[in-house]
């Protein structure tokens, strides 16, 4: 049994039943799932959660669908890794990495898709669909296969090869659209009107889908011993994940799982080539102007972010900040995380680490804070970005002389100390 009381428009407050609706019929504002928190609080407990599955479904009481056998590949309960070596490099005190590269298809999208398709199946949908910058495509195709649903995935034509392969392999339909992600998204928004029997996870089922991201906050708090951190850094594509992470910490307190009311500063990370939210933050305005993206961080390349306003609002209300970093800084961020903590992130993770570094250097993120950085996708998905950046130290003949020569040359060129 779920604890959903209905859907509510974030703009005008009109209420709707918990059906396949994503925008308010009146003002087109986004619909948000509402829960009966008193009833949740009466059943939920730390013990009940800790006895649950090692996946997002341990938090089922705070998710918008209850199902004894959800559409599940094991999303969630990913490692929260103490990152002392990275903290030392950046001048931070207590830093943690939420390593969502460890999800079944290598990104946080498994959280939202598992929720979305479980709800879609309950609503009677047989076909799973989405507009995607790649990670969502991978996850929808995989979860649909798992659930025995047909899938229709639409992606921009210029995605990284791995993301295309990791979608196509599951046997569903994949359409590469000649256009940007925003073009794909618009096409899917229009298709939703023509194909109402398809569950577009991030369009007509988006209300439920988005709730899956709250589990990032739930896990972080549980893994910190049922405490909220002081500051989280979250990448911004549509802005949905950041908004839901902020909501997640509040809900834990609302239902009695946190002793103290959390005051988590939430900061956003964007790439300069697609930074509508960071630009609005810097200019101090509420108006988010759509942009035409141009960045290697393709999973964040959403020029017209649906939840941009809400992300901006969550950042400002929490006392966080939002910054944008260059593609060169993104690559540095990927290598810094890999070199210091042994975690290989995709370009979006590079955006997060580079923004973490930038905001720390600016004094926004402080060394007396307990900081968590969300690393949301695996580096194998975007290896192209690093093709000319990293590679073998040298190519050598299979002889001791050749090896010694190459080691010596490396010591000179990189100034690394001899081993």
């Amino acid at each position: 049994m779920d604890f959903v009381s209905g859907l509510r428009c974030r703009e005008c407050g009109r209420t709707y039943p918990a059906e396949a609706l994503h925008v308010c019929d009146f003002c087109f504002g986004p619909l948000e799932v509402t829960y009966d928190y008193e009833r949740v609080a009466s059943v939920i407990s730390r013990e009940r959660i800790e006895a649950g599955p090692r996946s997002i479904w341990r938090y089922a009481d705070l998710l918008p669908v209850a199902d004894a056998a959800p559409v599940d590949l094991g999303a969630g309960f990913t490692p929260l890794v103490r990152a002392d070596r990275l903290a030392a490099e950046l001048g931070l005190g207590e830093l943690w990495i939420k390593d969502d590269t460890a999800n079944p298809t290598g990104s946080f999208k498994d959280r939202v898709v598992s929720v979305a398709l479980t709800k879609a199946r309950q609503l009677g949908f047989k076909i799973a669909a989405c507009a995607s910058t790649g990670n969502l495509a991978n996850s929808v195709a995989a979860h649909a296969a798992r659930a025995g649903m047909d899938s229709v995935v639409l992606i921009p034509h210029d995605l990284e090869r791995a993301k295309v392969t990791m979608t196509s392999v599951y046997g569903g339909r994949v359409f590469a659209v000649e256009g940007s992600y925003d073009d794909v998204n618009r096409l899917c928004a229009e298709l939703t009107s023509e194909q109402p029997e398809w569950a577009f996870v991030n369009v007509n089922v988006r209300t439920y889908y988005a709730e899956g991201s709250k589990t990032l906050a739930f896990e972080v708090a549980e893994q910190l011993g049922w405490q909220a951190p002081d500051h989280v850094v979250v990448p911004i594509g549509s802005g949905s994940q950041l908004t839901k992470v902020a909501k997640g910490f509040k809900e834990l307190y609302e239902v009695g799982l946190l002793d103290e009311e959390p005051s988590v500063r939430v900061s956003g990370a964007q790439a300069e080539g697609c930074s509508p939210v960071a630009t609005a933050f810097a200019e101090g305005t509420d108006a988010i102007r759509p942009v035409k993206p141009h960045t290697i961080a393709k999973s964040l390349a959403i020029g017209n972010p649906a939840d941009g306003w809400y992300a901006l609002d969550a950042i400002r209300k929490s006392g966080g900040a939002c910054a944008a970093v260059t593609d060169a800084e993104v690559l540095d961020g990927i290598r810094l995380l890999a070199r210091t903590e042994g975690i290989f992130a995709e370009t979006a993770g590079g955006v997060t680490i580079a923004t973490l570094a930038k905001l720390t250097a600016q004094g926004v993120i402080r060394s007396d804070e307990r900081v968590v950085a969300m690393i949301t996708g695996h580096g194998l998905k975007t290896v192209e970005a690093l093709t000319d950046v990293v590679g073998p130290t040298a190519t050598i003949a299979p002889t001791l002389e050749s090896f010694a020569e190459a080691m010596a040359a490396d010591a000179v060129s990189t100034q690394r100390s001899p081993l």
Partner: protein
């Protein structure tokens, strides 16, 4: 005539029809013409100041009119205007 594509959320105003032809020389005129033909469109897609509501996207053929001249963008016969809910994706 300009062809206007109407999303499912607004088809209660058109008797379920998803495509309507309207006269007009700018995006704004076409949308007002739509309201004249099917009362109720204006309050749904315009805000109190007469601009597009922030969660309403309007595309002239392939392009978001916010990248063009907004409601003042000129339109010519044969073009298609699409009204699309902005909340999608990501």
């Amino acid at each position: 005539m300009i062809k206007v594509r109407v999303p499912a959320q607004l088809r209660t105003l058109t008797g379920g029809v998803g495509e309507i032809s309207v006269e007009g020389s700018t995006v704004g005129e076409v949308l007002k013409g739509l309201d004249a033909a099917h009362a109720g469109f204006a309050e749904r897609i315009f805000d109190a100041d007469g601009g597009l509501r922030r969660f309403v996207n309007v595309f002239l053929d392939e392009e978001d009119v916010r990248f063009l001249d907004g409601l003042a963008t000129p339109v010519t016969d044969g073009q298609t205007l699409s009204i699309v809910p902005a909340v999608a994706g990501g």
